[in-house]
């Protein structure tokens, strides 16, 4: 029966094939690389040929004196991004859905998608220039209107999280609306017509029809986002990393880059990456289980 069903939708499965190949090549095959965490890295040997190092790099990573700072900073930044980024995308999708002028809707969508295609290097260079204490426009205005010394916004730990969230939302909010807009477009229009006839106003239609209809998608997106909690985005944070904000900007991702690319301790960096992956997997399992019990929405 299942084979029959497979054959029936063979063309659809065929379209799935490139994605399977992609994940096999770029996600599954490289997984053998995690064995590097147990090996003594050498430039001239394949991972299999490198000598075993036992658990020494795990020991080194767990006993790193800033281990808990790394975990705390990573989780806090990811949580903030989720807290502000997720509702922002959902809200924008709901608002876009209410726009009647097709031309205006398209324009807003295009404008909000654009930052997604700009690399973090460009985004952070832009933010650095705008927020620079040396002739940055924000500081120029600040000193002109309010006086006092310029503020090193990116380096100041008290401003750091605000800039991280603001730049992340600005870059991703448009792109993240796509899936919500797709879900909204699948809602049966008859539901809206019936609600209108019953006297429901626009906000009520959004609240009682749109939101409940896309609840499963919201749940799934939230569960998937949970999987990324252990990764706060290395590019953005690495580019914002300053000696002055190290207390809040040292995260697992920057530690991996620092230890791997900067110091050449590839085994140690692999261990940190492995830790990140395993904890993410645990979080996603837990979130899925909680969601299934609480709301019936789950990934599997």
């Amino acid at each position: 029966m299942r084979l029959k069903s497979l054959w029936k939708y063979k063309y659809l499965y065929l379209f799935l094939f490139p994605a399977i190949i992609y994940y096999f090549i770029f996600a599954y095959i490289p997984m053998y690389g995690i064995t590097l965490g147990f090996k003594e890295f050498q430039f001239n040997k394949s991972i299999w040929e490198m000598p075993w190092a036992g658990m020494q790099y795990f020991d080194q990573f767990i006993n790193y004196y800033k281990f808990w700072d790394l975990i705390r900073n990573t989780l806090f930044i990811s949580f903030l991004k989720l807290l502000f980024g997720f509702p922002a995308a959902l809200g924008l999708a709901l608002l876009l859905n209410e726009i009647r002028s097709r031309w205006f809707k398209r324009m807003i969508q295009t404008v909000s998608y654009l930052p997604f295609f700009v690399s973090w290097v460009v985004v952070m260079t832009l933010f650095s220039k705008i927020l620079s204490p040396n002739a940055g426009p924000i500081n120029e205005l600040k000193t002109k209107w309010f006086g006092g010394d310029p503020i090193f916004f990116i380096g100041d730990p008290s401003w750091f999280h605000s800039i991280v969230v603001l730049s992340d939302v600005w870059k991703h909010v448009g792109w993240n609306t796509i899936i919500f807009l797709a879900a909204i477009s699948a809602i049966n229009p008859e539901l809206y017509e019936a609600a209108s006839m019953d006297g429901a106003r626009r906000f009520q239609r959004m609240w009682y029809i749109t939101l409940p209809s896309i609840r499963p998608i919201i749940g799934i997106m939230l569960i998937l986002s949970m999987g990324g909690l252990m990764s706060a985005g290395y590019e953005q944070i690495y580019l914002m990393r300053q000696p002055s904000n190290l207390a809040v900007s040292e995260i697992l991702d920057t530690y991996i880059i620092h230890m791997g690319l900067r110091q050449g301790y590839y085994s140690l960096a692999t261990v940190a990456g492995m830790f990140q992956g395993v904890v993410s997997l645990v979080i996603i399992f837990a979130a899925n289980s909680i969601s299934r019990r609480a709301s019936g929405v789950s990934l599997w």
Partner: protein
């Protein structure tokens, strides 16, 4: 029928997508050599066609793993006058890659991917310097070409490269490391020809001359790092501006914080290693009281807005933007860098904003000012050049290096083409032509674009001071440079550095990770931004506790024991 067409089309489309996905993952040239050094230079055919005697034409790929050097790039790398003569003499044309990321990141990426160019120029400061550790590991693991045979066959001018201007312990432990089994892998560059030539770098603290004059401060009034503080306060309160009319930053640095450490000279002992002496015992400098003084002084500058907070991690472009408008009133660097970059930018329209060296600034011992600064007999670390193990152009690379290290080659790359850019005076000394001097004056990039004092100087060793005056009148004394060298000063010492016993410590790998210079730098620089002096010291003490927990005291004990085995130990 239509349904069949539809199905056929869908199937075709799906297969096409799959094929593209699969083909996209394969090597497009099916194993053919994609190396521009070979593809761009049909060596054999050209050689045969051009007849005998002409060197084989080769394009050498050179990676300059050194941030901030891209100003050495001529606008036309292949056809400038110097490049044409190099090509005529050696057959070599350079294809250069510059970097904008930290050197160690580029080196690690290079070695981990084994995607080696023909030649790499990189820092090799010796001992436990991260670059040295990475290059040595790559050499031991076969990624770098051994040089002994190549020098013997093609490097008649290179034979002295390992003896001229390098400290004996650096040669013994780094250039000729015992683990190399008698081989050598890295050619030292920019080494001094004589101990006196060591001053050629002329590292100093420089201040804009017009500001010093306006404040009526003489450069020699500055004798101690503490003297910089009132000067910086005056600069901040003095409403000085840059060329665009914006307020100056009292003090700052070039890329990645380079080289603000000179401002803190009075809080250092100018030691040759990471060790200092406390109660007659060798201890790591991080545990010394001087480190605390240094941190607290710098914290004062940063928190009072006297030092640019962005400077610690700014990139080369941002640093040059600031310097090109005279935005930073006080900065530390070596003279050749200051002069080369600023003579092409700030000094063109604003010669009054010239940066002059202040000092000499006394070091922590008070007795040794920078005039009498300690200099090892020969350099304790060098910029170096190595050849990729798989390079098919090693012979051409040596031919090129050998030529630029000949007398003829050095004159060519530093002064230009004889007759066109310089001639010899009655005393036989080279002197730039009037035409060259006029062109260099009207166009600051002229010399570099002609190939003079440009990328081709990388790879030259054993240099007399005069060679560092790339774009000036070689016969005319650059007074500012002479002053800078005088302020920098010279005291030559010789000995065996304590840190070279590191290799004998059984658990040094573990200690090395703990003492990693980047981590240490992060700790110290984050303390500059602490909310109070107490919190700054707390940051330092947390790190010290981590070091002790990690076994650093046992390491220090070992080093003290080892120090007793020689009587020429210096630290």
């Amino acid at each position: 029928m239509k349904s069949w067409l539809k199905k056929g089309f869908s199937l075709g489309l799906a297969m096409l997508i799959c094929s593209v996905a699969i083909l996209g993952c394969t090597n497009a040239n099916n194993g053919k050599n994609n190396d521009p050094s070979t593809s761009a230079s049909p060596a054999g055919s050209q050689n045969n066609a051009s007849g005998e005697g002409k060197p084989e034409e080769v394009t050498l790929k050179l990676l300059v793993a050194w941030q901030g050097l891209s100003f050495l790039a001529p606008s036309d790398l292949a056809n400038n006058p110097v490049a044409q003569i190099i090509k005529e003499k050696t057959g070599v044309t350079l294809d250069v890659e510059w970097i904008t990321i930290p050197e160690i990141e580029r080196l690690n990426l290079l070695f981990a991917t084994n995607n080696m160019p023909d030649m790499v120029m990189a820092p090799y400061w010796g001992g436990q310097d991260v670059h040295t550790v990475a290059i040595k590991k790559a050499a031991r693991e076969g990624l770098i070409m051994p040089l002994n045979d190549l020098i013997e066959k093609y490097g008649s001018n290179m034979k002295d490269a390992f003896n001229v201007g390098v400290a004996s312990d650096f040669r013994e432990n780094d250039l000729e490391d015992v683990s190399f089994n008698g081989e050598r892998y890295l050619l030292p560059m920019h080494t001094p020809l004589s101990p006196e030539d060591t001053t050629q770098w002329a590292y100093n603290v420089f201040v804009r001359k017009d500001i010093l004059e306006a404040l009526d401060v003489k450069p020699s009034d500055i004798r101690h790092s503490e003297d910089l503080y009132p000067l910086l306060k005056k600069i901040k309160d003095g409403n000085f501006t840059d060329t665009a009319g914006r307020p100056v930053i009292p003090s700052g640095a070039w890329q990645n914080g380079w080289n603000y450490g000179s401002m803190l000279n009075s809080f250092t002992e100018n030691n040759f290693t990471a060790f200092t002496k406390i109660d007659e015992q060798y201890r790591l400098g991080i545990f010394s009281e001087l480190t605390e003084k240094r941190v607290l002084f710098m914290r004062k500058l940063v928190t009072e807005g006297l030092f640019d907070p962005e400077a610690f991690r700014q990139n080369d472009t941002v640093a040059k933007e600031k310097m090109a408008t005279g935005r930073v009133a006080m900065v530390s660097a070596h003279y050749p860098h200051m002069n080369t970059v600023l003579s092409q930018s700030l000094y063109v329209d604003h010669p009054e904003m010239e940066y002059v060296p202040v000092g000499p600034i006394a070091d922590a011992n008070g007795e040794n000012t920078m005039v009498e600064s300690k200099v090892l007999k020969g350099q304790s670390g060098v910029p170096g050049m190595f050849i990729g193990a798989d390079s098919k152009n090693a012979e051409a690379a040596m031919r090129y290096l050998n030529f630029i290290n000949s007398e003829e080659g050095k004159l060519l790359v530093y002064l230009g083409v004889e007759g066109e850019h310089w001639t010899k005076d009655a005393a036989g000394q080279p002197k730039h032509t009037e035409k060259f001097l006029e062109s260099a004056k009207s166009d600051p990039s002229y010399a570099v674009n002609q190939g003079i004092g440009s990328v081709y100087t990388l790879g030259v060793y054993g240099l007399p001071n005069r060679m560092f005056q790339a774009a000036g009148d070689a016969a005319q004394v650059d007074e500012l440079y002479e002053t800078s060298k005088e302020v920098y000063g010279l005291t030559v010492v010789d000995g065996y550095r304590l840190s070279y016993f590191n290799n004998e410590y059984p658990e040094f790998d573990k200690i090395q990770t703990l003492l990693d210079s980047n981590t240490q730098r992060d700790v110290i620089e984050s303390a500059y931004f602490a909310a109070s002096d107490e919190k700054a010291l707390q940051i330092l003490n947390d790190y010290r506790s981590q070091l002790i927990k990690g076994g650093v005291q046992e390491y220090e004990t070992f080093m003290n024991e080892k120090a007793k085995t020689r009587d020429d130990i210096i630290h």
